[in-house]
Amino acid sequence: MKAWFAQHQAALASAFHRLWSTPLNTLLSLLVIGIALTLPGAGYVLLDNLRDLGRNASGVQQISLFMNVDASKKEVGDIESRLRAAGAGKWKFVPKEEALKRMQRSEGMAEIVASLPRNPLPDAFIVEPANTEPEALEVMRKEIAGWPKVAHVQLDSAWVKRFDAFLKLGKLALWMLGGIFAAGLVAVTFNTIRLQVLAQAAEIEVARMIGATDGFIRRPFYYFGALQGGLGGLLAAALVAGAVGLLGGPVGDLATLYGGSFALNGPSPLDALVLASAGAVLGWLGAQLSVSLSLRKFD
């Protein structure tokens, strides 16, 4: 157990030493890995921010229910009890008189409203459903549309659906991008480790001759791959955080110009950890592949 621990410690130390003793190579490899991980990382942060934006936009997930113009008070009451029975969430009844008053208050509309012979507006309900999943909203819209004296049901969230579809597409594209760059990272590690194995051929041969196990020979390379990948991941997180930091101000200004407020969120410590772990796992994988192939000729 003690020997096992000592050997792992030695392998880790040797991996550190190899990274440290060729600073330029290490820097270049880290840059390649860092940049490869930056693109999917940045994409993830972007999607995350967009999702926040969609969630924050208020009044989005609403269903507007318009009654027939000739619907009686009793029929309106009937719809209200149906909403209650359906557990539709929160709703607000907007009587046609109030709708007319609101319209009169709108700039330039007062004269038009005054010129109307009678109130053309129907009674309406504004429903804020408890379940805001796009699919659930659609089901509810269909159900309400079937109720008596309901003239029109409008899902005010058509764009929410589109936005959701866009996010899904973005997520898929991100996974594909991530997959490609993950393969790139494995390839980069594969190559650096292959060169190292060649450079240390003498040491590997001698170690084999005097009783080194496969594990002893492979371990430092595994640690090297994982370490390089992990550091690359951290570099990627730093690059994304830096980019968000630079873009944060201008994005806030832009949001203000559109009359909203929106702050760009950088990668969280957890995101950085995920990037570093992904880098480490992929680096380990690349090292594993490389060592398995490169060590064959020493048998």
Binding site: A3, A6, R208, G211, T213
Partner: protein
């Protein structure tokens, strides 16, 4: 300690380097393997060190039948052998001390203890004063002594050497021989492949004489 029965090694292509060889080396013996070049000395050493595998017969070293050994068990067999190669196989990117430390790192010995052991091994071959030197700065004889220090640092039961004086002048060769004799005196089994007749005349060890792969 080392028992060969009807041992043969045929290389791919059909060349039979060792043919139907049987011998027994008991613990604590000093044995020389001699013969003209190409007689199979190196192959026999490689078989004992499980660098090569027998194609026929059996070879038992330290109670382990090498012909039936799993690949993963080979490193553990080698740890009980001290190997000295003709070309030394030293690592030139590190100090003499670090070269001797390598076998101890392989078995996972704590650093403090390994350094003490490695220095003792260097002392035994008279190189303690040069522990910080790189192998390139050592003479041929010193390099071979360093290789011996690395071979014995693990306190192996068998010390195995392939032409250890092949590239050395007579004086250095004698030094090396004295070191092997010292290990023999403290009970280590010593097996040396050599074509150096001086050795045999001086020490009258047990001799395995090979000719075209066969034992004479």
């Amino acid at each position: 300690m080392i028992v060969a029965s009807n041992l043969s090694k045929r290389y791919p292509g059909g060349y039979e380097a060792v043919q139907d060889v049987s011998f027994e080396i008991s613990a604590g013996q000093m044995v020389f393997i001699t013969g003209h070049s190409g007689a199979g000395k190196t192959t026999l050493v490689k078989l004992i060190a499980s660098i090569e595998r027998p194609t026929a017969g059996s070879l038992v070293v330290n109670g382990q039948n090498l012909s039936a050994l799993r690949r993963s068990a080979i490193p553990y067999v080698r740890r009980h052998l001290g190997m000295v190669f003709q070309d030394q196989k030293l690592l030139f990117d590190r100090s003499a001390l670090d070269n001797v430390l390598l076998p101890l790192q392989i078995v996972g010995m704590p650093r403090r203890e390994s350094i003490r052991r490695a220095q003792a091994a260097l002392d035994k071959v008279g190189l303690l004063a040069r522990e910080k030197a790189r192998p390139i700065a050592l003479s041929g004889g010193e390099q071979q002594r360093l290789a011996i220090a690395r071979a014995v640092v693990n306190r192996p039961t068998v010390l195995l050497a392939d032409e250890p004086t092949g590239n050395l002048d007579a004086d250095s060769a004698t030094e090396i021989l004295e070191i092997f004799a010292d290990f023999h005196r403290v009970g280590v089994t010593v097996v040396v492949a050599t074509h150096d007749q001086n050795w045999i005349e001086r020490y009258h060890p047990n001799v395995l004489r090979l000719d075209h792969g066969r034992l004479l």
